[in-house]
């Protein structure tokens, strides 16, 4: 079994690499979209004072713990052929997985962005404005000041989707060469009793998660030393 696994891993099985690449693409894209959504909303929640802000923040924090299968169910209902967005023909496509994973990662990025900015000294904002910063210059400077916790928010967002299986399975359908990602493939292989391939895919998943986190951690450390 181990021999078989090693052969698969180093033999350059094209299907294994295709699955890995697709996982990286789908989760990477979902994380990027989450950042585009989460960074502005998280910043807005952290810096603006308005009625209902506390409620929105706790809503976001609850969203950070959304069970992927529930997200999978909701996205399935929406994208189902007879569903409200059925005409887009997105169910069982990589795009469907990206949508589901974005819904999972966006609250994580939003919540941690808000927390990162709220940790800064509130008077720093006054000081920046006092130095003649415009609104956008102030926000940019605050982001730069909170760059390390913001990077952590990005890492957590990616981590939450690369290892997620329920939603990908439900909205992607685990279709070979099309929507099969690492996690859904592992579930399938294990179900079939093909432990060798399941192990190979698991190792790849772990390595992927580790690599991304190592890279971001390196940037963090680099940022500290600068």
């Amino acid at each position: 079994m181990l021999q078989h696994a090693l052969a698969l891993l180093f033999g350059g099985d094209p299907e294994v690499w295709q699955i890995t690449l697709l996982s990286l693409e789908v989760s990477g894209l979902a994380t990027c979209i989450s950042l585009l959504i989460g960074l502005p909303i998280g910043t807005w929640l952290a810096l603006m004072h308005f009625r209902g802000r506390g409620f929105l923040l706790s809503l976001v924090n609850t969203g950070m713990a959304l069970p992927p299968v529930v997200v999978g169910l909701v996205v399935s209902i929406l994208l189902w052929r007879s569903g409200p967005l059925g005409d887009l023909h997105l169910i069982y496509t990589p795009a469907a997985i990206v949508i589901a994973q974005t819904i999972i990662a966006a609250p994580v990025v939003t919540g941690l962005t808000a927390a990162a900015l709220q940790q800064l000294n509130p008077r720093l904002r006054l000081q920046l404005l006092g130095l003649g910063a415009s609104r956008s210059q102030t926000v940019l400077a605050l982001w730069q000041e909170a760059r390390l916790p913001l990077l952590a928010a990005l890492m957590a967002g990616f981590g939450s989707v690369i290892s997620e299986v329920g939603a990908s399975m439900m909205v992607g359908g685990n279709i070979r060469y099309q929507t099969r990602v690492l996690t859904t493939a592992i579930v399938l292989e294990t179900g079939k009793g093909e432990f060798a391939s399941a192990i190979v895919l698991s190792v790849l998943l772990l390595v992927l998660a580790l690599l991304v986190n190592f890279a971001l951690t390196w940037i963090q450390q680099h940022g500290v030393r600068r």
Partner: protein, 359 residues
Amino acid sequence: MSAILEIQNLLVRREQSPVLDIDHLAVEEGEVLAVIGPNGAGKSTLLLVLACLLRPERGQVFFRGNPIAAQDELTYRRRIGLVLQEPLLLDRSVYDNVAAGLRFRRLPRQAIAQRVDEWLNRLGISALRDRPARKLSGGEAQRASLARAFALQPEVLLLDEPFSALDSPTRTRLLEELHSLLRATSITTVFITHDLDEALLLGDRVAVLLNGRLHQVGPPQTVFGSPTNPDVAAFVGVETIIDGHVIACQEGQVIVESNGLRLEAVGEIEVGRPVLFCLRPEDVTLLPEEGSPTSSARNRLLGHIKRITVQGPLAHVVIDCGFPLMALITRASAREMGLVENRVVTAAFKASAVHLIPR
């Protein structure tokens, strides 16, 4: 002189209770206005209003005679400099911090480098140029914060107790340096402090803020020497303040000439330097005019009593010795000595009770 910055009819409230209620305050071009008051008097709030960082419930700030409209606030803030109690440096190099405001103004790189280096140098932190700001000591960080504000060549400098968190020797040194920088640049400055010495050293005028209201605004000698009301008097504590200059200084003994009188004090101040001669009323002893017994008090002045005001068990006596000298004695002593207005007495005080503030 004309007002560069002016406040009219200002009201700031927090949870329905007024924090700041000021009818009028004008900052003259080129002056240093020291705003003093105890903690919680509304000093910092006043500074935030002046920096257009806090919109008052009522009232208006005028810059060079024009009201600052909401859409002009950014333009206005790019003409002032702001230093707060904490240095609030960014987590970047000292250079980047001092350059921050200039970069916000989109100055050319060359001009930024030149100005930053100039001000790092003038505040004595050139050696720290490339050091991460978070590795600075408290004093170094506040120097960087001052350099950051001065580098902007602001038309008005707003300083909110910049030295209150520093240890005493660092504070004294920085205060002296700030004093000479303000003289050299003659930037209009509003300096907030709760420390009377700082206000006396830096302020061309002093504004006393108590419970959100301006009680008195004027030259330090006037404010400290003739407080307009008991609240100001109680806050300033030191009541006798006269102008003078040092005519001799030897072994820590300073002779000051003021109003044609020679007065003794303790300190190390170069000859010829103008000073403010400060004395607390409780440090003054009153003796009958004729044949006074010898004592360790080095200063003895003859004068006649102008006014006696009873304050509970104490009597506050104003003596005219060529200048008004305040004394605080017990009512019992006043009664036993038979002190009445117009009577001539000798006022004595020790050289060590005198507080000299170099100008």
